[in-house]
């Protein structure tokens, strides 16, 4: 579905990603693991077209999207849940969702469906996003991305700083999307939470892929994790 092939990317003169490749398949959760500063967020930004590519290609269902203007990338069906949520803080819940719906002119029933997944948001439609609790904010960030009916979903540390009950709620939604055939790229620090749900794991270090492994293998041989992450 989404293929990243040998990309170089970074911030101005600072190169972060070096020949990074990965692919994300429909109905699968691909997990991106790596230490702080390894380039996980940068990978997501590069996919979203926010950083110019120095080399390589990014294709979505065969279409080259690597050189599109940034605002065209989500219109191809990529939903992004950025690290730190990045809600439009002064806008209401409804307005944040409206922006998600506007991305691809989603029909109104999409909103109904998204609010079914996150009933707590339905009660807070008129509230400003900045007044929500951390868990609710993460729900809103997720709901906003789902409003564009994504074929591919990018989640950057969605459970960072959340209570276990919220983590579980987010996890259930991700698993449900997977079962609906969405291709999911998930960045997480908490390996335990990820490993049970992931299909494949990509380890990155210094902006390069160190190893790609089957999640089933990792579950069987946890010593591999130690090697790649030092945990």
């Amino acid at each position: 579905m989404l293929e990243v092939q040998g990309i170089d990317a970074g911030y101005g003169p600072v190169q972060v990603l070096r020949g990074l490749s990965l692919d994300v398949r429909p109905g699968e959760i691909t997990c991106l693991l790596g230490r702080n500063g390894a380039g996980k967020t940068t990978t997501m930004k590069a996919i979203m077209g926010l950083l110019p590519l120095g080399a390589g290609r990014i294709t979505l269902a065969g279409e080259d999207i690597g050189r599109l203007p940034a605002h065209e990338v989500p219109r191809r069906g990529i939903g992004y849940i950025p690290q730190g949520r990045r809600l439009f803080a002064e806008l209401t819940v409804a307005q944040n969702l409206e922006i998600g719906l506007m991305t691809r002119n989603s029909p109104r029933h999409v909103l109904t469906r998204v609010l079914d997944l996150f009933p707590r948001l339905a009660d807070r439609m008129g509230q400003r996003a900045e007044t929500l609790s951390g868990g609710e904010q993460q729900m809103l960030a997720t709901a906003r991305a789902l409003c564009l009916e994504p074929r591919v979903l990018l989640l950057d540390e969605p459970t960072e700083g959340l209570q276990p009950s919220m983590i579980e709620a987010i996890r259930q939604v991700v698993i449900r999307l997977k079962s609906e055939g969405v291709a999911i790229l998930l960045v997480e620090q908490r390996l335990d939470a990820v490993l049970s749900a992931a299909d494949r794991v990509v380890f990155i270090e210094n902006g390069q892929v160190r190893e790609t492994a089957d999640a089933a293998d990792l579950r069987a041989r946890p010593e591999l994790l130690k090697r790649y992450l030092g945990v």
Binding site: A70, R75, Y80, R86, F88, E90, L91, I99, M102
Partner: protein, 307 residues
């Protein structure tokens, strides 16, 4: 004239200043709020509004039709010019806050010199489309209770009332645009988080061009409205820019309601102090107010503290 009627007259003059200032400052504030660009050339868009009003009104045969033609066409022409400046200059600087200040200083001088070359150094008026004198009543407290009197000299022209009404209408429209429409939502989302806006399909470059054009169009509209009262002159942008900055700083950068409150405050005090004391004192007090705001409430009356 007695003190009361005199004060009312000064306040009415101040209200005209406040109306024009509010339009201009709203444009400056919008551009800063959404784009984080301090547009030093904003006063020149106001000047161009006035100068082009003279040109367009003349081409359209003068009189009321000439003025109406200018009122409609000039803000659009200036907005288009601003969009071109955005594409040609600001975008190439990636909207860097410091470099755009230098760039807009350059745009300021280019526009000013072009106006001098094309229009000349003279100040020229445009006839107002209508200009009835409307006498205003005053209530005197005589021995037998309140009496309505018509003090000599207490009057306003219908055109000045029109300026106040037109500015209020346009600002109300701007408020509705920002809070009730899709394009307003898109502009606010861009203002709040430009990068995330892009990841939701918002073409930030086009939004910036639109905002810069809209801001310049508001300044130009203020310029068109003012020419029948003050004449058009190629150097008129300087004072207007200073006052707009004062208003925007006092009101809170990027806050539309704050800008309106500050415009009324500065416009009225400018009118009243100019009439009773001197215009210089009015400017001194306005500048002092800015200094006080910067010291005690740096985010302005209605602005939010930086997070």
């Amino acid at each position: 004239m007695e003190f009361g009627p005199h004060l009312m007259l000064a306040a009415l003059e101040g209200a005209v200043t406040a109306a024009v200032l509010a339009l201009m400052a709203a444009g400056l504030s919008l551009v800063f709020g959404v784009m984080r660009v301090v547009n030093v050339a904003h006063g020149e868009f106001y000047m161009l509004g006035a100068v082009l009003a003279f040109v367009v009104a003349g081409m359209a045969g003068g009189g009321a039709p000439g003025f109406v033609a200018a009122l409609v066409a000039v803000p659009l022409i200036v907005a288009a010019l601003a969009v071109a400046a955005d594409r040609a200059v600001l975008r190439r600087l990636s909207y860097d806050p410091e470099r755009t200040i230098v760039a807009t200083i350059g745009i300021l001088y280019i526009l000013q010199q072009l106006a001098l070359m094309g229009y000349g150094p003279d100040a020229r008026p445009v006839a107002p489309p209508f200009n009835h004198r409307i006498a205003l009543p005053w209530i005197d407290w005589g021995a037998g209770g309140p009496v309505l009197t018509w003090p000599w000299g207490l009057s306003i022209t219908s055109y000045k009332l029109f300026v106040i009404g037109a500015a209020a209408t346009v600002l109300a429209g701007l408020w509705l645009l920002m809070t009730r429409t899709r394009i307003g939502l898109v502009m606010r989302a861009t203002q709040l988080d430009r990068e995330t806006a892009q990841t939701f399909g918002i073409p930030v470059g086009r939004v910036y061009a639109l905002v810069f054009g809209l801001g310049a169009g508001l300044a130009a509209l203020a310029g068109v409205l003012i020419v029948p009262i003050q004449q058009a002159h190629y150097l008129m942008g300087g004072d207007a820019l200073l006052l707009s900055f004062i208003v925007v700083i006092i009101g809170g950068l990027g806050s539309l309601p704050g800008t309106l409150i500050a415009a009324v405050l500065i416009g009225l005090s400018d009118g009243i102090i100019s009439v009773f004391f001197s215009p210089t004192l009015a400017k001194i007090i306005a500048t002092l107010l800015v200094a006080l705001v910067l010291v005690f409430r740096p985010q302005g009356l209605m602005g939010k503290p930086a997070r």
